[in-house]
Each structure stands twice: as structure tokens, then as C-alpha cells.
């Protein structure tokens, strides 16, 4: 490359334009020292002045004790609080309609429904997605809320109650408390018997490898049918899962089922009644109900 910078004594007046050159020259092309228009320069200095004013007016420099406060007292927290207030004001009419509408009727009102679903979706993302997943698709031990299998019932009122009081959440006196006994750990059934019951249950669900036996059927009737029903169809009142369908909260292989029978127990869900306000709980119930159409 033949690029080079000429020494500064090459500064001269360009004969064509009669303008000073900067003394820079590249491949025979010289740079004119054309000044900027005044308004441009003034604007440039004005932006610098503006930035200084801005710097003084608003919180700017971090210091050891937290940072400069700015002269006009503006604070991002106060600003957020104002925005939140505004939001509440905007949402006011919808929240009011939500509060006044009976839960069962909201889904039939298209405009209210879409607003309530949006509210519910936001509340779900903030509070529920941690366990049930962002799309409420669930995970092992955490129910999928899009399907048609409901441990505690999938009617609006059931869903609402579950959200409000939780499941096996001791801090709430109205929580759901029914729990599967630990048949193995508490010595109610021995290992042989548990294996037979597991085989029996897997046969009821028509899982491949399931094996029904007279002994297994008797053990099931004596120990399990109280909650899960004689045919294994489950019971919403007790949160007892349907054992004959294709959905298994903790898994359907034999080891998992043996483990569940031996150790009992069940999942826990917090009660949200004391943390979320009434409209939010309503919105959440509607949202969850519309995911898979509820029951």
C-alpha cells in the first residue's frame, strides 16, 4: 500500500477551491480543511452542555454509599411506582368487572375473557411457572394443566380452591390434606405384596407387562380401593389419581409404582390465598381452566 501521511509542512492552499488543506494526502488525494457550519458546531457543544445538565439532574455516578442522587430528586423506583399506579388505574375497570362477574360466566364474555386470560397468564408466569412450567406443561411430580386429568377436580370451583388453599400446605387450615399412606415403610405390606399390587395396578391401566392375579386383586381391594375406587378410577375428593388412564404423574414403570406404594406421600402446592388478591386468583383459575378446557 502506498498510503502515507505527508509531513505537516505540506499544508497549503488548494488552488481550485482556495481552501486550506489539512496536509493529509493519500494516493495523491488531498484533504481539504473545510470548516463545519457554525450551527453544527453550536449543536455539538449544546449536546455536551446538555449531557452535563443531565448528569447533574439525574442519579449518575455510583459512589461507595450508593451513588449521586441528582438535583431534581428523580428516582427509578419512584418512577416505577408511578407507572404501577397508572397501570392499576388503567386496569381498574377490567378488575372491577372481573370482581363482579360470577366465575362461571366469565368465559362466555369474549372481551372480558381475553383481558382476564392476559391477567391470568401474567400471574401464572410470575407465580406458577416455576413448578408447572412456562406453558403449564408440568413435569414429573408436577401436574400438566393442559390435559384432562385432574387430581383434585378440573371444574372452575375446584381449580380456584386448589389455588387458594394449596395442597398439603400446612399453613392453610383449608388446604387439602389427604395423603397416600406409606404401605411399605409403615409395615402394612411386605415387599412381595407391594410387587403384586404394582402388577395388579399396571394390569388395570393396561400397561404392557401388567399382571393381574387373584392375590393382587384382593390386596388392591383391601388396601387401595378406599381412595382410588374399586375400578381404580380415582377420586377427586381425596386427590387420588385415576390408575386406569394413560397419564402418570410420577411415571408408570414398575419401580416407580412400587416406590409410590412403599413410601406414599404426594406433592405439595402452596396456598396462594394469602399472597394474591381475589381478582388475581380468579384470573388464574380462569386461565388454567381455559388451557385445556378444564372439566
Amino acid at each position: 500500500m502506498s498510503t502515507r501521511e505527508a509531513p505537516s509542512d505540506a499544508v497549503r492552499i488548494d488552488p481550485h477551491t482556495k481552501t486550506k488543506t489539512t496536509g493529509h494526502e493519500w494516493d495523491g488525494i488531498e484533504e481539504l480543511d473545510t470548516p463545519l457550519p457554525r450551527w453544527w458546531v453550536v449543536t455539538f457543544y449544546a449536546t455536551i452542555l446538555w449531557s452535563i445538565g443531565y448528569f447533574l439532574a439525574y442519579p449518575a455516578l455510583p459512589t461507595l454509599s450508593g451513588g449521586t442522587q441528582g438535583l431534581i430528586g428523580w428516582h427509578s423506583r419512584a418512577s416505577v411506582a408511578r407507572d404501577m399506579e397508572q397501570l392499576t388505574e388503567i386496569r381498574g375497570p377490567v378488575l372491577e368487572r372481573l370482581a363482579n362477574a360470577p366465575l362461571e360466566e366469565i368465559e362466555a364474555r369474549p372481551q372480558l375473557l381475553s383481558a382476564v386470560r392476559a391477567l391470568g397468564a401474567a400471574a401464572f408466569a410470575n407465580n406458577c411457572a416455576g413448578c408447572h412450567g412456562a406453558g403449564a406443561q408440568g413435569a414429573k411430580g408436577y401436574p400438566n394443566l393442559n390435559d384432562d386429568d385432574w387430581l383434585w377436580g378440573g371444574k372452575l370451583s375446584d381449580i380456584r380452591r386448589t389455588i387458594e388453599h394449596g395442597v398439603r400446605w400446612d399453613a392453610d387450615k383449608d388446604t387439602r390434606t389427604e395423603t397416600m399412606p406409606a404401605f411399605g415403610r409403615d409395615g402394612m405390606l411386605d415387599a412381595e405384596q407391594i410387587s403384586l399390587v404394582a402388577d395388579q395396578v399396571r394390569a388395570m391401566a393396561a400397561l404392557p407387562g401388567g399382571r393381574a392375579t387373584a392375590q393382587g386383586a384382593k390386596l388392591y381391594d383391601d388396601n387401595c380401593s378406599v381412595c382410588h375406587g374399586v375400578g381404580g378410577k380415582g377420586n377427586h375428593d381425596m386427590g387420588a389419581p385415576n390408575l386406569t388412564d394413560a397419564l402418570w404423574l410420577f411415571g408408570s414403570d414398575k419401580d416407580t409404582i412400587v416406590g409410590r406404594i412403599a413410601n406414599g406421600g404426594g406433592g405439595v402446592m402452596p396456598a396462594w390465598g394469602d399472597r394474591l388478591d381475589e381478582p388475581t386468583i380468579k384470573a388464574l383459575a380462569i386461565y388454567v381452566h381455559t388451557l385445556g378446557g378444564g372439566e
Partner: protein
Amino acid sequence: MTTSADMGKAKSGSLYAPRKAIYPRRVEGQFRRIKWGLLAFTLAVYYLLPFLRWDRGPNAPAQAVLVDFPHRRFYFFFIEIWPQEVYYLTGLLILAALILFLMNALAGRVWCGYLCPQTVWTDLYLAAERWIEGDARERARKDAGPRTAKIWREKIAKHALWLAIAWWTGGAWVLYFADAPTLVYELATFQPGISEAYVWIGILAFTTYMLAGHMREQVCLYMCPWPRIQAALTDEYALNVTYRYDRGDPRMSLKQASALRSAGAPAGDCVDCGQCVAVCPTGVDIRNGASLGCVQCGLCIDACDAVMAKIGRSARLIAYDTQMNCERRHRGEAPIYKPLRARTIVYAALIVAIGGLMSAKLATRDDARLSVLHDRNPLAVALADGGVRNAYTIRFANMNAEPRRFLLEMSGIDDAELEIVGVEPDAEGRMIVGVGPDQTREARALVTLRGGRKAKGQTPILFTSKDVESGASVAMRDVFVIP
């Protein structure tokens, strides 16, 4: 190209050059008349269009051109654009760019000289200035001399008039965003609750006043990117305002020239009177050749034509012509004009194609829409009986001024059930959704395939929304996922 020489000189070593005042002289002639005509036309359109009414029935505004932000609609005469149709805007911008390219390929910066808002408002401001303070020479004399009371009065009157024009300019702008007569009434009677309108009028009034009143040619020379871009787009066949040096040079006085001519020797036509420079709004001496500063307004043509008429030479010593033709004539060759060139043909074809495509799309567009969004998380849900369900967010749009009812149907996958959350099927099991006038309605649709083992993969399905009354239907494709 001449550049800085035309644009004001600084003391050497200074960082900036103060604006060199330009006092363009009044001129009359063909191009000036064209400019007045276009000025009157464009300003009339801009200031009056919001008041044009257009009957759209009881549920839509009656303003011919309206940007309705609160309801997210754009009305343009018989066209109503919804937010999901912003591609029309994209198309318009592409069209505008292509038209600019075509104008440029044909005649350089003519847009700048005749239609650019900066030119139009500057022209208007100059006219106001001339009306109050007099023409170029008078203004230059007043500015150079002492400030008398009369001069102060004139200056105040001028700025007041400028500000009034600026205020109207900003005011007309906000009228495109609300019902114009109502807003005019509200503005005139200082109704509360329209502070936003005042802010916008203020901003636009200020920019108009600054750009058209105080910065003028500086906008064209320093701020506008178009001259840089067009310099790269133009070619040697584009017509530009050109001093025909082949005919004008050597320059000499009228007396010298007639002496030479009577002696049978050739003489240049230019009498070096400087009229072409005196009328130029950007202070260009076009005789120096093509210039970044020239906006192709043609006023120097008018000025020189007047001179030529006076000295009895033929007109158009300065004309829309090409540098190339000057050189050709100078060499004794015939000039060439080629408006049909590869680039002009391509631009014109593209304009026709895109314009045609947009009009065709506009003419055949439906007044109802359907959009379908598949739930992504989860894509599919396993059911208790071994079946599979997919969920979709469906949006019906009724772009009509009447409420309508749509029947939703789904096809493509055998035996699947369709339900819409919150919609009860009618007696025949049909899912009918009512949508208000000019509204959309969102619904959640569940498609369920019951029981048994299913082949994995995706099956294409089709949602159809049919207007119950007219039977017109729109369809959207999607898929059904089996995990």
C-alpha cells in the same frame, strides 16, 4: 464539483464557518411558474386534506385521511388499513424510493428543486420575507446598515408571519390524527385534555421555523443525505441544470461580443452578468459545473433566459442538459438524449410491478381475517385416554362496519374434535363466533384426537372461518402435532 467555495469561508484555522447569508433575488419565468404551481398544489393538499370527509357508515370516522392511533387504524379514502397490514406502508415506502430513483435517473435532483418539503416551505418563507422586507438587494442593504426602527418593525413582522406559517404547518399535521373540525374547535377554544396536540404543534412549528426560516440551504448542503446518495445513483445521461459552456464561453461584455461577431469571429453568449448566481437559493454559481449545492430548481435558467431575451440571443444558455452533451457539442458532435436506459426501464418496471401488486392485493383483500397461532409450550398434550390434544389461539377479525358471525371449522385430520373455550356449539353442533363491527376477537381452540395409539409427527390441518350470512370464507393452515 465545487464545494466549500460556494458554502461560505472561514478564517483559516477556525473550526467552523459562519453561515454566509444568501439573498436570492426574485425571478420570473417558466420554471418559477412551475414552482409556484407545485407549491400551491402541495400546500393545498397538505393543509386541506384533513378536512375532506368520507362517509364510512356509523361505526367508522368520516375523515378521508386519518391515522387513528387509539383504534389502530389508518384510513385513506376507501382504504382502511389494519395494523397487521403494515406491509402496505412498506410497499409505499419502496415505491416512493423507486420513484425518487427514477426521477433522479431522468433529471437528477429535481425532487429537491420542486417537491421536497424543505424547498416548498423555504420558498414560502422567502416569499413572505420578500413581501415584508423587499427583494435581495434591499435586504442585503438593510442587514448591512444600521438598525432603524422601521427595520426592527419589519423584522418583527417577518418573524411573526414565519411563526404563524409554522404554527399552521404543525397544526395541520395533528389534524391527520384526529377528527379535524372537532380538533380545530378544541384548539381554538383551548379545551383541556389536548396538551399532546399542543406539544406536537409546538415541535413541528419550531422545526418548520428553524429549517425553512433560518437554515434553508444548509439543510440541503449539510443535513440531507439524499445529495450524497443521489450522487452515487446518477449517471452521465441524467439531465441536470447545466451551464452550456460550449456556447457561453469565453465570457465577455456585450460590446466585445458584438464586435467579435461582426468581425465574423466566434464569441461566447455569457455576458458575465451574474444573474444566475443572484437568483440561486443555495448560492451556487452553476457556471463552475455540476455542484453538490445545486438542487435543480431551474431558477437560474429563468434568470439567464431573461438576460438572453434582453440581449437578443436565443434562450437556454443554462438548461436541463448533461455535462456529456456540452462536451460533445464542444467537439462538434451531436448531443444525445436517452431517457430510455437500462436503469430507467428497470426502475419503471419495478414501479409498475410493485404498484400493480399492491393494487391487486388491495382490490382482492378480504374484509375478514383469521389468524391461527399454535401453542408452542407444550406443542401437544397427552390425554388420559391415550389421545392427543393441540391448542391454538385463534383471532377473528371483522373489518366491516357491521357486526358479523363466523362459523369456525377444522379439517385435515379425521375424527378430531374441535372446541372453542367459552363458545357453546349450536343445535347442529356448529361453533359460531360473533365479532363486533371493526373488531377482532381472540378465541382459544382445542383440537382433540381421542384414544388409541397415534402415528407420530405433524399432520397439516386447515381452519376455516365462514361468514354465516354471506358464506365468504377465509382459511388458515396449521399443523396437528402428535408426540
